[in-house]
């Protein structure tokens, strides 16, 4: 039961620290944080992020978990965590390469041909090219395999038509990983093919989505007779689902310990600042009981994250258990923000930064958080994953198994 680094981990941490200290400045209290879910990245941020990524790449500190042959260090998972912990202490540009490095790169390394890897991996690692993920569609979120965008063979190319949605960063990306339906007569999972698409191709139209909090980080991406060379196909025709699974597994493998960001510290601070019945709210026993409940849960999520890191340190591969952090954490953030607004009394109706407690931050958080309960696996899907993969309970009964895709119902029957 020891929170300290092993000697090897400590040595690695020192090495990382030394390079960071020589190449960046420590983060101060007024320095910005990362990019929030659905926050649109501006040009200045884009430039700075690419420059920092190149600097890391030139020094051999980019994508350290990737094999050396692709420009990484072949680092272990725990070394990757240590790198992340140290880097976050420095005032570096927000990371806009999460999707490219976390999902696209590993997918190409697993399923790509040597030529494809050579073509895409180096520039992905260096940040010269930025990638997005084109999976979800208006009618296919949780039921991703039910996607409807089509790809039809035409000589050496494929013609793609359809629409993708929730594509983060599409507006500044160079490439995208794309799953489309190449055979509507096959069963749902069997008729999909996986491509890499040049985001500058003619026929691609990108439209920002406006979220409930006014943010526009996500996009709709429309494909109108977009031509993709067959050389950009990953794996066999009809094997798209298996490749998509690789992508999704890598998405889940990104470990975070979200508990600390649930806002419990800010809630305590708020309770000391606002009044209830003429005294600081923190002196009210009802408030104390409620905040204590949040505190217990918030710390439990944080310590669960520690156990995951600990497992990585021991060379284990945490799997579906990682769903817990997001499932519990996102709801907790929402519940805390909800309660914080209520603590503000009638003044909770305001969200103006000048007149509202904590500069309207709670109202902002309350508007931002519903997206996290749906993104990267909805609460309900995560519960299914825990139930099936962790607890070994039977899978869902399917109404669309063994049917040709084109025959699967997609809405209520017309009268």
């Amino acid at each position: 039961m020891d929170f300290n680094d092993t000697p090897e981990e400590a040595a690695f941490r020192a090495e990382v620290r030394a390079w960071l200290e020589a190449n960046a400045k420590l983060r101060g209290p007024d320095d910005g944080g990362g990019v929030d879910l659905g926050e649109r990245v501006d040009d200045e941020t884009l430039r700075a992020a690419k420059a920092w990524q190149k600097k890391k790449a030139d020094a051999g500190w980019a994508c350290i978990r990737w094999p050396k042959e692709y420009g990484g260090r072949g680092a272990t998972a725990i070394q990757s965590v240590i790198w992340g912990q140290e880097e976050s202490k420095f005032n570096t540009p927000p990371n806009i390469f999460g999707i490219g490095h976390g999902m696209c790169g590993p997918t190409i390394m697993t399923h790509g041909t040597p030529e494809q890897k050579e073509r895409w991996i180096p520039k992905l690692l260096s940040g010269e090219e930025i990638w997005c993920q084109l999976f979800s569609e208006p009618s296919a979120g949780s039921d991703l395999a039910g996607l409807r965008s089509t790809a039809v063979r035409d000589g050496d190319d494929w013609i793609v038509n359809g629409q993708k949605i929730w594509t983060t960063g599409a507006q500044f990306c160079d490439w995208g990983i794309l799953v489309v339906r190449s055979d509507p007569n096959a069963a749902k999972h069997a008729g999909l093919t996986y491509f890499v698409v040049d985001m500058h191709s003619p026929g691609i139209e990108i439209k920002p989505i406006v979220q409930i909090n006014g943010g526009t980080g996500f996009n709709e991406v429309f494909f109108d007779d977009v031509r993709i060379p067959d050389a950009n196909r990953l794996s066999e025709v009809g094997n798209g689902w298996a490749v998509a699974i690789t992508t999704l597994m890598n998405e889940r493998a990104s470990i975070g310990s979200g508990g600390g960001r649930a806002g419990i510290g800010d809630l305590l601070r708020l309770a000391r600042e606002v009044e209830l019945d003429g005294a600081p709210a923190i002196e009210d026993s009802g408030v104390r009981q409620k905040i204590a409940e949040f505190y217990v849960r918030s710390k439990a999520v944080q310590y669960t994250g520690n156990r995951t890191v600990s497992a990585l340190s021991q060379g284990k591969t945490p799997g579906p258990e990682a769903s817990l952090g997001k499932l519990v954490g996102a709801v907790l953030i929402q519940d805390i923000a909800s309660y914080a607004i209520e603590l503000q009394g009638a003044a909770g109706v305001l969200s103006d930064s000048e007149h509202t407690a904590h500069e309207g931050g709670w109202q902002e958080r309350y508007l931002g958080i519903p997206g996290l309960r749906v993104a990267g696996g909805t609460d309900e899907v995560l519960r299914n994953i825990i139930a099936e993969r962790v607890l070994g309970l039977p899978p869902e009964t399917r109404a669309d198994k063994g049917i040709a895709f084109k025959d699967i119902p997609t809405g209520p029957p017309s009268k």
Partner: protein, 370 residues
Amino acid sequence: MNFDFSDDQKLLQQTAKDFLDEHSPLSVCREVLESDAPYSQSLWKGAAELGWLGTAVPEEYGGAGFGYLELAVVAEEVGRALAPIPFSSSVYLATEALLLAGSDEQKKRLLPKLVSGESIGTAAFTEKAGQNGVEGVEARVEGGKLSGSKLPVPDGNAADVAVVAAQGAKGLSLYLVSLTGEGVERVAVRSLDPSRPAARIDFDGAPAELLGTEGGGAALAESLLDRAAVLLAFEQLGGTERAFDITREFTLQRYAFGRPIASFQAIKHRLADLWCDIELARSNCYYGAWALSNDDDELGEAACLARLQASRAFDLATVEMIELHGGVGYTWEYDCHLFYRRAKSTSVVLGSPACWREKLISRLEANRAA
């Protein structure tokens, strides 16, 4: 980074589990629950022979000389088996009180018997409904004699010695009192969990020996309760996991509408949510174990976190256990109510969740002011 128990500690845990699987199946808990016996003597003897009672007691007093991490993993197994023995009272309260505040002479005199199991100890703090610790104590010690009434005293009928909170000449103090000597009258009181029953003890001129400093009883009791809370949280964790495993197994075997009820999404999601609360409990328990074994300043906070989440998880799991078993979960014959009773009792025995939530906030605010 290793936020986990060591291989040696896990081996100790497995040994404990193996012993309890063989000697403390749920039928043993049921036997005590259904009888007037306050505990299983044979199981107590077995636990003592394995050295469990002295896990964290230094060798010079007859103990095994291990630490609290080892005691925690044994506690988890004791809880998983719902073992009907006064382990928590004698080890986490009485033995611990001596380790914390006993003079060398008191330790030499009393610890070896507690470690061998020859003596069973407990703590007697509260006196009436609503109390959680040593607030409102009216029992008094004058001229070395204790008078007053304590209710409930966990394992009050099994124990022969108690750490009693009473008002002394300089204020609230803790005293060692023999429960088999003069001036002690014990009344067994019907308990929600008869496998871990409590008693009422009336004192009238019982000899009382000061433990710790005069007037230092409140601080000592507070510290003792924190330590006991962490260790009991591991028992709660073990019991929670057993309840969950039995429930999960039941839902896989029980068929309705042509398929196992475990295949219905409502059931799957409830079990998934329950699993999350159990994992959260494990995490807070580990933090508690770390703080206890390092005697860290954070123990005051850690004890609250461990107790509160373990209590919550045990409550949730046992309520769900009966519900998901359907009608049979409500029968005396099925084991669900053994867990249901144990969960609710352990959630209040060292003070209610509300009391521990208040402790948590007070401590956080006090740390901030410091």
